[in-house]
């Protein structure tokens, strides 16, 4: 008994040692930066100059400034619009529709289904910065494919990045991220045996009825989880918007991650940039805790 207990403790010590390299890296680059941000948010740390070498403690000044900063209000509003537009309306709704379409087509044995599936996935697996570049070209005012397409149908060209920058970044992010939602729902839909639909059809149930009775109950439990997942991912969007509009013009697409970056590296206010990072981390943590609770409840 005692021997067994000691064996267990000894082994546990070894296992904890085995965890230590990973724990070290995670502490250094996840926990470390979070603490560093909290520490810096109480200082006037700068990127260059005297305050870079000797940051001064300024208490809650940065937070007071942040919450009375009209720019920050705008940034939060932009972030919310961007998340609602590209995560909830764009990726979630389009992804759900695509999953239903592909599942339906598969059950009908349409061969082109896998091509469509691959096309959606392709947009998602490529590095985000390439997505940014591709859409810079798509949105180009004079020659871009979108305006060329509008010309074909007789519509006037649109100055996408100049006049409707928020819509433009929402379109680009929807293009890039729809595959995630589609895959989740497709996975769920695959669990429904075709026989159920056939039986319902034989019983004379309408297409709507079949969807309502057999499809929806399968989708509903994971919908909230998926929604939260895409919201979290979209909330952190940086490089796509940076390459497309860099937050502009006139602050119209400045979301929270860009604001932290610009304050720290363009205005050289690292302390203030850290404060924004802290707020971003706190919001993300709140999302994540809810997310993990929900998925624990489902498991």
């Amino acid at each position: 008994m005692a021997v067994a207990a000691r064996g267990r403790l000894g082994r546990n010590r070894l296992y904890l040692a085995g965890l230590s390299p990973a724990a070290f890296l995670l502490a250094l680059f996840f926990v470390g930066p979070a603490l560093w941000a909290i520490g810096s948010s109480f200082t006037n740390r700068a990127l260059v100059g005297l305050d870079a070498a000797n940051p001064r403690f300024v208490g809650l000044d940065n937070y007071a400034r942040l919450f009375s900063d009209p720019d920050f209000g705008r940034v939060i509003l932009n972030s919310v619009i961007f998340v609602i537009g590209s995560a909830i309306i764009g990726q979630f709704v389009l992804g759900l529709l695509l999953a239903l379409l592909l599942d339906y087509a598969q059950r009908r044995g349409f061969l082109a289904t896998s091509l469509v599936y691959a096309a959606v996935l392709l947009a998602w697996v490529n590095p985000t910065i390439i997505a940014g570049f591709l859409w810079v070209a798509m949105f180009d005012f004079y020659n871009g494919s979108l305006n060329a397409g509008l010309h074909v149908v007789g519509a006037p060209p649109v100055n996408w990045l100049g006049q409707g920058p928020m819509l433009a970044v929402i379109i680009a992010n929807t293009w890039r991220g729809t595959a995630f939602t589609m895959l989740i729902f497709l996975g769920a839909l695959r669990t429904i045996p075709s026989d159920i639909y056939e039986a319902a059809r034989v019983d004379g149930a309408s297409a709507f009825r079949r969807f309502w009775d057999h499809t929806l109950p399968i989708l509903r439990p994971i919908a909230a989880l998926t929604l939260l997942s895409v919201t979290m991912a979209t909330f952190g969007t940086f490089i796509l918007i940076q390459t497309l509009t860099n937050g502009g013009p006139a602050f119209q697409t400045e979301v929270i991650a860009l604001y932290a970056f610009h304050e720290a590296f363009q205005n050289h206010a690292v302390g203030y940039g850290s404060t924004i990072s802290v707020v971003m981390l706190a919001l993300n943590l709140a999302f994540a805790v809810v997310f993990l609770r929900w998925s624990r409840a489902r498991a």
Partner: protein
């Protein structure tokens, strides 16, 4: 034991991802009428156009001496864009740098997650699911939120403009998911195999290397592939950590080319497109060779880039 699934946001998501990518689609039963066929295929056409046109443009622009934002068959088909990036943008060095960083990250990740995944799987603590929970929580931290502090921290630790810093960070980014993934693989390997090896007089470490790891080879393959790809594609950390020309990697060269060659008026689309094609190449190879694994890996990271 539900500890595996208890704290996992992943199981639900990962299980669905696995199903969407591995299970064969349901067998078709009823035949489709012609109207149905036409409607579905019209929808297909719209979807494929939306998702593929940007890529078609990329390919045509990379091989066109007169590339513009306009999508067209190359006006002057050429491979000069590719030659140019090697002669004018020192792309050979950039490529070598990127391969070095990605391979080193891959090796570090495989070593770290083998140890950590195995240890976490075998650890016998009452509150073990808290560790799993903490790992998952870290996984949801967007690196765009820690960009500023990581810059500051790396500067104080002397990790800027050093591949050591870049490799450590790239490895750390992938760790939470891969630890969790590898733990799953090790959980499925029966303990009596290694216990028999201990009785034979092997040390715990040798038993891990000689008995357990060979059985976890598929998992190690996934971890290696995902670590390589993520380090290859990751751009945020490179932007904030590297500003010396001779240390540039592909994402940074691409980012800079976009900014300097890419004013809104005189964009050198051909050259940047050629870079993008090379940047994309390894991603595409993995995508077509191991789509399922890649998809599962990507689905697990909710971090926005």
């Amino acid at each position: 034991m539900t500890a595996v699934t208890a704290a996992t946001g992943r199981t639900t998501v990962d299980e669905l991802a696995r199903r969407a990518t591995t299970e064969p689609p349901p067998r078709p039963k009823a035949r489709a009428g012609p109207l149905e066929w036409i409607l579905v295929h019209i929808a297909f056409l719209v979807v494929v156009a939306f998702f593929l046109v940007p890529f078609l443009w990329l390919l045509s622009a990379a091989f066109d001496a007169k590339a513009s934002a306009y999508i067209q068959f190359p006006v002057e088909p050429t491979i000069m864009n590719f030659v140019k990036i090697f002669t004018e943008h020192d792309f050979a060095r950039v490529l070598a740098n990127s391969v070095f960083v990605a391979v080193a990250t891959m090796i570090l990740v495989v070593f770290t997650v083998s140890l950590a995944g195995y240890s976490l799987s075998r650890l016998d603590l009452r509150r073990k699911d808290w560790i799993t929970y903490a790992v998952l929580l870290l996984q949801t931290m967007p690196i765009s939120a820690t960009m500023v502090p990581i810059y500051g921290l790396a500067r104080q630790l002397g990790l800027r403009n050093s591949y050591l810093g870049l490799i450590l960070i790239h490895a750390a980014i992938e760790l939470p998911f891969l630890i969790w993934l590898m733990k799953g693989f090790f959980d499925s390997i029966p303990r009596h195999l290694e216990e028999a090896a201990w009785l034979d007089g092997r040390s715990k470490f040798r038993a891990l290397i000689e008995i357990v790891l060979p059985l976890a080879r598929p998992g190690l393959g996934i971890a290696a592939g995902l670590a390589f790809l993520s380090a290859w594609a990751e751009v945020l950390m490179v932007i904030i950590l590297i500003d010396q020309d001779n240390l540039k990697t592909v994402p940074l060269a691409f980012y800079e080319a976009m900014r300097t060659q890419g004013g809104y008026t005189e964009v050198q689309y051909g050259v940047i497109a050629a870079m993008a094609v090379i940047y994309l190449l390894p991603v595409m190879v993995v995508f077509f060779a191991a789509r399922r694994l890649m998809v599962r890996g990507l689905m697990s990271s909710t971090r926005g880039l």
